[in-house]
Assembly symmetry: C2
Homo-oligomer: 419 residues x 2
């Protein structure tokens, strides 16, 4: 007696074994993982992907951007492929679920489809994207595959040029191969990603699944306040041009301005840097690394004006010069409506409560959405903890997410009755 | 026809040649110098000291703390010595005069005394103290020589243990030799130091010479604010425990509190450090390196209470934990009255206007004052610039200072009529 495609479910125990195996790679004492892109642990996780594909009897290949692609030929000969995936790199000292869950689920979905001999109109491809977290270039792998990674960003990668070059070499790639890694037109029919929410909206709403409607645009800046280095013991307070004061003032004022003018949105100063940085020297320069996010261009523009104003006020208030560098910026992306509907229907069909919501975090999905219909779902994060060892999602939620993705994939890829 | 001791003057041209030679060692493009303790440039400056002593026909030796001592045997056989000196290390990217002027003047004074065959009751010693600026341990050389450098401070030196060990090795010393470098009792009869003011009080008063009455005590702290690392895109502003906000708030409030409660005094935050320091992660910890200075213990205590209060308020205001580390602290020192008088009289005798004033900066003199009568004079700094490439003192002021030091030294060492 056969089962229908709509009854198909992933193997929870097998997926759990995979997930736990992967969680041991780069594990930290406190339950998190440390797998920055191209680190030793990340390279081991990449090897794990290859071995996992071999275990289900398919080969994976590495593209010019270092992305692993494991293709299950379940479609017609000349069919395009539906990609499913996420990333195996982590922020420094991050959590086990971010990225890894999506990759493990993608591999598990392929294994499930293969095991049950499901025939589809499309091939399925499990993908592990390179450097999603931006150790060197944020969303590097997915943006390279979508052909939307500017040469300038690769040339100006974080870290020294040598460091970046050596990191790429460890994964067998280089700057030029990254820039020529774009997928051939028509080869990718769609992209689906499962990810932990990294927030508390699902928990707050009591929902099992979040269907992502779009992904915020991010603008990142460095505000450089320039004052004058002076002796800490001999320069009267009122004769100083202390760059640190401008920086600190701006950090506080930018937050106040956002809470007042942009409620519900976020602004973050993740780093601040004084030079010369000696305890007995008044800071000559102070740089503030600030980012904000919004789901439409108009709001992003208004935020940019607001933080520029606050920076200028802070500089003027303490007699400082100010220069502003624009760092990474991504545009907000709206995700494909039909794909959203497929994901929501799949959840409904399994009796899982679901809500539509935008993503405050950047994801590989936003790059893929530029070249194909792309969809994304979230599963609940305990306490919303993210980019932290405290990140945690109950296993049942992980399984729910994988099954919703499986069902949506089957629907989008045109599953026929199973034998 | 002989000249009297009171008519003796240093050789301005020879001293200028020395000063310029020294200024080229570790010179930066903008007219400053970069000679942190034990750096290559600092080691070259140390070599220069040895060669300069050789040029006047005396040998210098290096003590266990790396101090260079060039002794001119102009006193009686078993006499103690009057030391004159300062330091050749600089803050990172500092100025040419700080420390260097005092060393060059000391060597010049010895050369002048030797050249004129002056007989004294005391030997004279030109000294170059190690790491005055605290690249590793502030006032390391002078505190070691005075026997007042605690083992704990040497063990907890700034920088990694390895880095410190290797730095010491470059100067041929080690931790144990530093701790056993104390001068034998009775061998040092006094200490004199010439230094640039690093402020504008002499300029403001129109005075040529500042006779230092005492040296401020410094208390240095690290305030560690501990919050929670969270995703910058998915964590609402009102659910964050952003350590950076506490740190920035404290920086501003400590300044306001000082300007209100301690007018005329200084508080400085020279550095601030966020972890993990990524642009897309809410800071988990933020540390604030703060110091303040005052010329009496009661004021220092009141300041300590005030900054603790501000730190606690800042931590509470943003839901953060707070730990406080006490770093370096020095006690305020009153300088010997008789030595002050000698210095002032020497200036008067040469027709140089002079004022008495405390030093807002720490100096080797404060360590030496603990074991012998010690005195210090300042010469004017243009615009008060200090610890900066903008540091500048007119050459005539440098010469004036060296001559005042020479005359005071001759007086304190009991100069007799010259041949």
């Amino acid at each position: 007696m056969g089962i229908t495609a709509s009854e198909l479910r992933i193997d929870s125990r097998r997926m759990k074994r995979d997930f736990e195996e992967l969680s041991r790679i780069g594990a930290t004492d406190n339950g998190g993982i440390h797998r920055p892109a191209f680190s030793e642990a990340h390279l081991k996780a990449r090897d794990w992907f290859v071995q996992r594909a071999v275990r289900m009897g398919i080969k994976s290949h590495v593209d010019g951007a270092g992305n692993h692609q494991a293709i299950l030929s379940c479609g017609k000969n000349d069919a395009a492929m539906l990609m499913l995936g996420s990333h195996l790199d982590s922020v420094p000292f991050g959590g086990r679920f971010d990225g890894a869950l999506g990759v493990v689920a993608a591999l598990e979905i392929l294994d499930t489809v293969k095991e049950h001999g499901v025939s589809l109109n499309l091939h399925l491809c499990a993908v592990d994207f390179t450097d999603e977290e931006g150790a060197f270039v944020g969303l590097m792998g997915s943006r390279a595959l979508s052909g939307r990674l500017p040469r300038q960003e690769v040339d100006l990668a974080f870290g020294s040029s040598d460091e970046f070059h050596q990191a790429l070499a460890r994964a067998g790639i280089n700057r030029e191969s990254i820039l020529s890694a774009a997928a051939a037109p028509g080869t990718i029919a769609g992209y689906l990603e499962l990810h932990v929410e990294q927030g508390t909206r699902l928990k707050d709403a009591g929902a099992d699944i979040g269907v992502v409607t779009g992904i915020v645009g991010i603008r990142c800046f460095q505000f450089n306040f320039n004052g004058r280095a002076d002796h800490a013991g001999t320069t009267p307070m009122d004769r100083r041009r202390d760059a640190g004061l401008g920086a600190c003032s701006m950090v506080l004022k930018a937050r106040e301005r956002f809470m007042l003018n942009f409620p519900g949105y976020v602004v973050t100063v993740g780093n601040i840097d004084f030079t010369p940085g000696a305890f007995n020297v008044v800071p000559q320069t102070a740089s503030v690394t600030l980012e904000f996010r919004a789901d439409d261009i108009q709001t992003l523009d208004a935020m940019e004006t607001a933080v520029y104003e606050e920076a200028e006020k802070a500089a003027n208030g303490f007699g400082l010069d100010l220069t502003i560098e624009k760092l990474e910026r991504t545009v907000p992306v709206h995700l494909d409506d039909r794909t959203q509907k497929s994901l929501s229907s799949a959840a409904e069909q399994m009796g899982l409560s679901n809500i539509y919501l935008p993503s405050g975090a950047g994801h590989d999905t936003q790059a893929m959405a530029l070249i194909c219909p792309a969809g994304m779902i979230f599963v609940p994060s305990e306490n919303g903890a993210s980019h932290s060892c405290r990140e945690y999602t109950h296993w049942q939620d992980c399984v729910n997410g994988a099954n919703v993705l499986l069902q949506a994939a089957l629907s989008l890829a045109g599953a026929r009755m199973l034998t």
